[in-house]
């Protein structure tokens, strides 16, 4: 098992290296002087000169790439041309909000999606099945930000059941340890703060979780249907195993493999969806940070964001692959 994990980790290296080459090429492909691009429009000639020196823009491209890679490895993603703050610091400050949102959305998707998909497969052909399949189709075609607007309009603005924006009521004097607001409340035993943060998460999580939810319902349903038709399930039933045991040990376990892969593939979707959701609900995560950076073409931030997301994406899929190895022993060998 350890060898499997190490091998999968080693496979990450060429992907990340390739990504760094792409990003390097991307920064160079931008029109204009790279130092000026990094610093923004209003940079002084002295600052441009300093950055040109520091990043070696006057040296040959391979040497520049080595410097660039060295900076990346030491965690230097540059300074935002909009705020003047180091990109890494801003990310670390804002990342918990995004992770919290993405996890909440994933939770909505998995906790509802797997049972619903399983139910649809069990009641295959029934009205419930048709309803769930239809609903999940609809779920995949509604644009995230449109759904976010609708939810906000109906449940926050018109009905007033849930807060319209933000992560926590500013009137609550909460202590923040990790910047995961729900967790902070639990850690400091400020239950009301934790609960308030949770309430703020409901609408954004539903908005962001709908597409993954729809996908998980569909994949689970298809997967369970396929496994149910397998010979080994018939064998298990024929030899008189209890129905519940067959379902748990044979059907569910095997059906979960594609679902697991799908959950891993949702990471990218969740993180890009977070950009849109955070903007609608004014959540101060990296999504809204990116949104502001797009309009000002803040390249260090854009670059850092891509690298960050790619890293997270790669790590999540690593975890998924390892999870795969746990569920399916064959994967470990091949």
């Amino acid at each position: 098992m350890l060898r499997f994990v190490v091998r999968r980790l080693a496979l990450l290296v060429p992907v990340l290296l390739g990504l760094s080459v792409l990003l390097f090429a991307w920064l160079r492909a931008l029109p204009g002087d790279p130092a000026r691009t990094l610093l923004g429009e209003r940079a002084t000639p002295a600052a441009v000169e300093r950055i040109t020196q520091a990043y070696g823009f006057d040296r040959p491209l391979p040497a520049q790439y080595v410097t660039y890679l060295g900076n990346l490895l030491t965690g230097d993603l540059g300074t935002s041309s909009r705020t003047g703050e180091p990109v890494v610091d801003s990310f670390l400050l804002r990342f918990p909000a995004t992770i919290e949102l993405a996890l909440a959305a994933l939770l909505v998707a998995v906790v509802l999606g797997i049972p619903l998909g399983y139910l649809a497969a069990r009641r295959h052909g029934s009205a419930l099945d048709t309803f769930l399949v239809g609903g999940s189709l609809l779920g995949t075609v509604v644009p995230v930000f449109f759904l976010a607007y609708l939810l906000k309009l109906v449940f926050a603005v018109q009905l007033g059941w849930l807060p319209t924006a933000g992560r926590q009521d500013p009137r609550i004097d909460a202590t923040h340890v990790t910047n995961f607001f729900v967790l902070d409340g639990l850690l400091t035993r400020e239950w009301d703060a934790s609960f308030d943060a949770l309430v703020h998460l409901v609408l954004p999580a539903i908005a962001l979780g709908t597409i993954p939810l729809a996908i998980i319902v569909r994949i689970t349903r298809a997967s369970v249907l396929e496994v149910t038709g397998q010979d080994y399930v018939r064998t298990a039933e024929a030899k008189g195993l209890a129905r519940s045991l067959v379902r748990r040990r044979h059907v569910l376990r095997n059906a979960m493999l594609p679902v697991l892969t799908t959950v891993g593939l949702q990471t990218g979707l969740l993180l890009s969806g977070a950009v849109l959701t955070e903007t609608v609900f004014a959540i101060n995560g990296i999504g809204s940070y990116l949104f502001d950076s797009i309009s000002t073409l803040d390249y260090p931030v854009l670059q850092g964001f891509i690298l960050f997301i790619a890293l997270v994406y790669a790590l999540v899929n690593l975890v998924v692959d390892v999870g795969y190895g746990v569920v399916d022993p064959r994967v470990r060998v091949s």
Binding site: L138, F146, V157, S272, L276, T279, I294
Partner: protein, 324 residues
């Protein structure tokens, strides 16, 4: 499954034409034995199943309506698009609702809402089709390369594809638009590029599945050149998942255009009617005039739904192992 599964020349109406990926010689279509076996081909069977599938018919109807509206926009739309001809009738707090002159009322800039929606279909269709062609073309070329040669070519190509996959499509689109500058071309390249890895993986996987099949072995042992084995045997048999994906990608593209517009990376020309931008502009009036946002939102969802329904039905009808 029969050995030959070329799409019949006439093609089922509504079925997306498989664009030959760059590098595919025209000989593909001229394969002589293809004509003889059409009667039993996978596509003929699929067409039979599609006609009986209500979901496929519903999808096809929506797609046909969408394409018709897009193509005939100048004939259908009552006015010129984005003219803001009635700007003086719009106040900061209210927008004129439906009337005899304007079936759906005006938008927040004083243009006819129905006209905007109709022309929006055109924009979505153009961007959707072009970006899908870009994604399918390049993706299929990469997949073909990897699937046909295998070995180190496969490894190298798939690593590149993995890297592309590790960037979420929206971000890929953002980075491309940042280099090229916001324009319809950037939008199409960006959305297309994000689809390249998906098509590449699909075609490669599907071709690898064919490599070990008996008919490929038979063709190789008969002494056929690899080029001809790949092009006239493996490729046609591997294409159906790619074509299905192409239909589904049209749905994704329509949604993605809206998302990019929302992020301010859409077509910078304000006189072009575009559903995503209509949605964005309507957000200030969400509480007073929700229909301004709901209508383009519904248009996006319904047209995407049409392509999805049809694509899914096509997938099921093409899959010999799939029976509902």
């Amino acid at each position: 499954m029969s050995g030959v599964s070329l799409p019949p020349a006439g093609g089922p109406p509504g079925a997306p034409e498989a664009d030959p990926p760059p590098g595919t010689p025209a000989e593909l279509a001229l394969e002589p034995e293809a004509a003889d076996e059409r009667g039993t081909s996978l596509w003929r069977g699929a067409w039979r199943r599609l006609r009986r599938d209500p979901a496929a018919i519903a999808g096809a109807v929506v797609v046909a309506a969408f394409v018709l509206v897009a193509v005939l926009a100048p004939l259908i739309a009552p006015y010129e698009p984005a003219g803001a001809q009635w700007a003086n009738e719009v106040t900061p707090s209210s927008v004129p609702g439906p009337s005899d002159d304007h079936l759906l009322g005006l938008d927040s800039f004083g243009s006819d809402l129905l006209t905007q929606l109709v022309y929006g279909a055109r924009q979505s269709l153009v961007i959707g089709v072009v970006s899908t062609v870009i994604g399918l073309g390049f993706g299929a070329a990469l997949g073909l390369l990897a699937g046909a040669f295998g070995g180190w070519v496969d490894v190298a190509v798939m690593r590149v594809v993995d890297i592309m996959l590790s960037i979420p499509s929206l971000l890929l689109a953002v980075s491309i638009a940042a280099v090229v500058g916001p324009s319809p071309t950037a939008l199409m390249i960006a959305i297309g590029a994000a689809q390249v890895p998906i098509f590449a993986r699909l075609l490669r996987g599907s071709m690898l599945g064919q490599r070990s099949s008996d008919y490929v072995l038979a063709a190789s042992s008969l002494g056929l050149r690899r080029r001809s084995v790949v092009m006239s045997h493996m490729l046609p048999n591997s294409l159906s998942p790619v074509i299905v994906q192409g239909t589904l990608t049209l749905a994704t593209a329509i949604i993605e255009v809206a998302a990019l517009s929302y992020l301010g990376l859409g077509d910078p020309n304000p006189t072009v009617a575009e559903w995503g931008r209509m949605l964005v502009r309507a957000q200030d009036r969400l509480a007073t005039d929700p229909h301004l946002a709901v209508l383009p939102g519904v248009c996006i969802a319904v047209s995407a739904l049409g392509f999805t329904l049809f694509g899914e039905a096509l997938r099921e009808s093409l899959d010999p192992t799939f029976r509902r």
